[in-house]
Amino acid sequence: MTDQKPVLEARGIVKIFGQHRALDTVDFTANAGEVHALLGENGAGKSTLIKILTGAYQPDGGELLLDGAPITLRDPLHGQTYGIGTVYQEVNLLPNRSVSENLFLGRQPTRFGMVDRKRIDAAAKDLLSRYGLDIDVRAELSEYSVAVQQIVAIARAVELSGKVLVLDEPTASLDRNEVQRLFDVVRTLKAKGLAIIFITHFLDQVFDLADRVTILRNGKKVATQALNTLNTTDVVRMMLGKDVAFDHHPTALTGGPKGQVRVQFQGLSRKGLAPFDLSIHEGEVVGVAGLLGSGRTEVARLMFGVDTSDTGQITVDGHPVAIRNPAQAVAAGFGFCPEDRKLDGIFGDLSVRENIIIALQAKLGWFKALNRDDQVELAGRYAEALDIRAANHDMPVKLLSGGNQQKVILARWLAIDPTFLILDEPTRGIDVGAHAEIVRTINRLREEGLALFVISSELDEVVAYSNRIVVMRDREMVAELDGDAIAPDAIVQAIAGTQEARP
């Protein structure tokens, strides 16, 4: 930080998509030997700026300077030749090829026109050892964890470019130890004088790793500041342009009169999941806390009939129901927003409207097709109720932001007038603004009398909307917190197993 030498500089960048100014005269500077975090809500222009910096997009105004000289980038490969390398969230390497080939594809040393594999393997081994990786470089890339794959991707990017390294949400699918391992690598590169641009949703990681931060909002730069002059609240405030949208008053939620029991699970279990009993009342949110792998998602899948239970029974409004597959669950008035939205939730190529009506149509069956007017009306109603922001309801849902996609899935279930909604990590991968909106929506649904079961790894969030919290550990429900007992500290203790929960 002492030597403020700009490597890559963007001046007055403008990017226009149709009517929309995605970036409005944004300045950005990446200095050598510095980690520069780029923050902003989805739609703030973060990814557009990154795409311009790496050459995937061409700006409509402004200029890029590398080491003080103006450059024009045709595409990311061209950017790479200028020394700008990118590592994406989804590792963009070849899972089916060896580690060494992934490192050297396109620049394999050849001898008499033939690839010299021994030399590649040796060079790859040597290269990775500089990143603290001692692995069999001849093995397929897909045999290694995502963290290792990320490091291989970084090694390749740095090797090919070597001036600027753009890390586009590299930590999204890593666990804590893996994140640290990755950060160690990044710190080493920083010490070597690389300019590093770091994009993430995780604020704590920004404070952990970055030196400076640039915050974008609605396509404009809000600020560029050194992080040691800021705290989390400052950053969030700048990102949102308002104070944090959800407050932490757990006591306001609890203690009130409970409605009648809507859904009751008795002794539900499956191989590898201890039997559990749970009743969920009308107008109640039961939050689930627990680490990844504690059995949270398994419980949700069991409830919705994705996996069939070995024992136990389910009653809805006092009547026993059999749920052995999701269709039966839907018939019983259940809705499920799965954890992996893109894979299990949305139909990416179908329109917003079709995505919203699909559960209702499935419930109605083959012969009662919703006519187009009904569909438009339904989609319009829920899009308005949930504030789904889409240019029109006939656009493919995959083009929407994560937050809006999540709301589309919520709308889909609300359309069948459900009794019980299961939400698995409803705010994962969603920017802070949409995050707060989802939390508000959950609160509103609860007030409207829905029974909800919400899984989340964000403690503050669970605390903010839950009437009751179930804590899971080692594939077992180990504690239930109610009323005043709901507090992040208590949950952490229950997860860690340091304190038996109050009855």
């Binding site: 990311p76 490969l77 790479q80 963009n92 390497l93 070849l94 899972p95 089916n96 090829r97 080939e101 992934n102 594809l105 396109g106 394999q108 050849t110 026109g113 033939m114 690839v115 594999r117 692995i135 069999d136 001849r138 093995a139 397929e140 897909s142 045999e143 290694y144 964890s145 290792v148 390749r156």
Partner: protein, 319 residues
């Protein structure tokens, strides 16, 4: 061990086992004579299957192979018998035409973003139709060069004949193994099969590679056609009907993943030989209908698809 080697190993073992079984029933099958015929009879299929291997490795499919073989036999016959060209010139023209045909299909697949299935299906109809337009009837080829080639072979100990046609096939396999596993082009083919987006971001020339792959496949189909015409001394538009499917079967039995990215050229060789073995056994037995070949190939295919599922599901994880 590299897990993509496992299907290849399985194929090899099955081939050896099947061969031993066949020999125990028909001891006469263990001779260089049978071996020589093996190579000769399956040469055109083998050569076409090599091209198919590259296509499938890259994640595509080429349905035009059989039609291109048929077309080439007709074109060669027309050039030699009607236009009185020397066979070597006829071969060269036919190969250039076939290669260009493949390159156009590859370009259509890449630039128009149409699935290879559709493009090569169109290519199949075009080539087959084109062959019929050239000549709806079979044209016999009589030329001193043809008789000379057909008569030249290396006599193997035990009376087997290692024919020119068989040599061409082995040479094609040898070149293809080097091309696939030892050159940048080969790496690029595997890269496309792994992930086209990643490959593009990593600097693989996607357009050039795609076009080259289909050009190579059609070139080899053309070469298979040349071999077919040498083998049968005739050009006929309905030659090699359905050979593309036999080639796909050979590739998959040889351990190449139908979705691309994994596999070996050498496996395809064994896949072809395994099909040939079944056919030869049926000929030796004399009582079985030749359709049993199809049944056995079907069973083998099914087994290998299952096997690949298992191998790739049980992927080991390292940290």
């Amino acid at each position: 061990m590299n897990r993509s080697l496992r299907p290849l190993l399985a194929t090899t073992l099955i081939f050896l086992f099947a061969y031993m079984l066949a020999v125990s029933q028909q001891p006469a099958m263990l001779s260089t004579r049978v071996l020589g015929n093996f190579l000769t009879d399956n040469a055109f299929l083998g050569i076409a299957a090599v091209g198919m291997t590259f296509v499938i490795l890259s994640g595509g499919i080429d349905l035009s192979v059989g039609a291109v073989i048929g077309f080439t036999t007709v074109l060669v016959a027309v050039l030699i018998m009607w236009l009185q060209l020397h066979p070597l010139i006829a071969f060269a023209i036919a190969l250039i035409v076939a290669t260009g045909f493949g390159a156009v299909m590859g370009a259509a697949i890449h630039y128009l973003k149409v699935p290879s299935f559709i493009v090569t299906l169109a290519g199949m109809f075009l080539a087959r139709g084109g062959a019929s337009v050239l000549s709806p009837d079979s044209i016999g080829i009589e030329h001193p060069f043809f008789s000379a080639v057909q008569k030249s072979y290396i006599l193997l100990p035990g009376g087997g004949r290692f024919t020119v046609v068989g040599m061409i096939m082995l040479a094609v396999f040898a070149c293809a193994i080097i091309l696939a596993h030892r050159t940048r082009f080969g790496s690029n083919v595997y890269a496309l099969g792994g992930s086209e987006t990643s490959a593009a971001l990593m600097g693989v020339p996607v357009a050039r590679t795609t076009i080259s792959i289909y050009a190579l496949s059609s070139f080899l189909a053309g070469l298979a056609g040349v071999v077919f015409s040498l083998y049968t001394s005739a050009g006929y538009s309905l030659n090699a009907l359905g050979v593309e499917l036999d080639a796909i079967a050979a590739v998959v039995i040889g351990g190449t993943l139908l979705t691309g990215g994994y596999g070996f050229v050498a496996g395809t060789f064994i896949g072809v030989m395994l099909q040939g073995l079944v056919q030869t056994y049926i000929v030796f037995d004399g009582t079985l209908s030749s359709w049993w070949t199809k049944i056995v190939v079907g069973v083998l295919l099914f087994m290998f698809i299952l096997l690949q599922r298992l191998v790739f599901k049980a992927a080991p994880r390292r940290t």
